[in-house]
């Protein structure tokens, strides 16, 4: 598996550390009433077969956080962008 790091170019998978699904959003409140949201965020996963956007750390390279778009069924990597840019896109409401 090769990952096109936006900073370093295409690099082999062993340089990267996978965190997991980029879709769950961290709840902003610490109010106990939002417990269900926290439970969802920490423990539940869509775990999709197919298209998957995930947080990946380029730990053996530029050490930047990326969001890699990958197919979990074929391991095909469709692209990678900086996590910061991905967050900006999400905030605008546009899905990646």
């Amino acid at each position: 598996m090769l990952i096109p790091c936006p900073h370093c170019g295409t690099r082999p998978v062993e340089e990267f550390t996978f965190l997991g699904d980029a879709k769950p959003e961290r709840p902003s409140s610490i109010d106990p009433e939002t417990m269900d949201q926290w439970f969802d965020y920490v423990y539940l996963r869509d775990n999709p077969k197919g298209r998957y956007d995930e947080y990946v750390h380029h730990s053996g390279g530029c050490r930047a956080w990326l969001v890699v778009s990958r197919n979990t069924e074929t391991h095909e990597v469709r692209g990678a962008i900086a996590a910061r840019d991905w967050a900006k896109k999400q905030q605008k409401g546009g899905k990646s």
Binding site: M1, V42, L44, D46, K49
Partner: protein, 416 residues
Amino acid sequence: MKYSVFSLLRYSLSGHKNWTPAWREPQPKKDYDIIIVGGGGHGLSTAYYLAKEHGLTNVAVLEKGWLGSGNIGRNTTIIRSNYLLPGNNPFYEWSMKLWEGLEQDFNFNAMVSQRGVLNLCHTDPQRDAFARRGNAMRIDGVDAELLDAHAVREMYPFLDFENARFPIKGGLLQRRGGTVRHDAVAWGYARGADHRGVDIIQNCEVTGIRVEKGKVLGVETNRGFIGCRKLGLAAAGNSSEVAAMAGMRLPVESHVLQAFVSEGLKPYIDGVITFGAGHFYVSQSDKGGLVFGGDLDGYNSYARRGNLPMVEHVIEAGVAMIPGLARVRVLRSWGGIMDMSMDGSPIIDKTPIDGLYLNTGWCYGGFKATPASGWCFAWTIAKNERHKLNDAYRLDRFRRGYMIDEKGQGATPNLH
């Protein structure tokens, strides 16, 4: 037909031409009392114990591929019950006890071999941790022996005791652990369940779950709708996909784990040895191949194949433990999809949907659990309540804060 030395002799006289199939290939009926989704080890053992322990035989096992095509035929065949935490030890020890009587019980040669599982330790703190785990095991009635380096050397002189970075300080040995011929486990359970009247339906993929007013009515399949009163999900790596058909999201991620077998060698390793300074475990099959594995690749996957860096990593760990492995050729490698739960422990429980039961989250420890998993799941389905052995494996333990986290990693499935 009962298999015995006499049936073997009788059929050998006729040139082994008249053996009958070990199980039928029935057409699905319109409905069943109980349907189990997943014809792997856990699904088949569940059906077997439903029939044997609870007398429930109007049962179907639906398998999307061929029988035992998933992880029951892809694991490294190790059985053990060397856990630390209270929820785990009694369950896995019950599994070990079922393994010990399994072949007589289901009349099939599963080649259960209690050849011993040895975990190596490489530092003083690790030895302390092993002593603690060994004590926890013995409190629960499990056998455990703490060995010093000399005793380990007596057993396996070819290990790299003087490794500069990971010298071997000793090990924790469970003599009752060992290996089992994994395919035979699927076949034995399938045959035993089939003989008691369970329908095992292969090439039947579940495409939907029909739920009305919070109650399960049946499943849509590629061979039409099949009704049921109770539905048990034992779909391992595909658990999330199947549960989503009933509108459930699970605390599970699917990850790929690779395993390997070497060319056949003369008898070399007569037990199971695990490396304590990395993740590597090895045994030798009866055909002579070394069977070994290591860590997950680390990313979510449904692909049943991994990448080469993990192959290299596993073999590096192996050579660090047994330098002689550098001379051995790898024959094959393959991958399986693990249902990695959020605390590294499984789930065997009812669900919020009436008549829907869940068996998942086996991470990469599902094989050794096959008998007890089926036994407890059958109990839970038959009686609509958890047995005390799976009482800790509740689905709601994550919400309630009662994780069973052997490795202490938190909700990071790729690290368990």
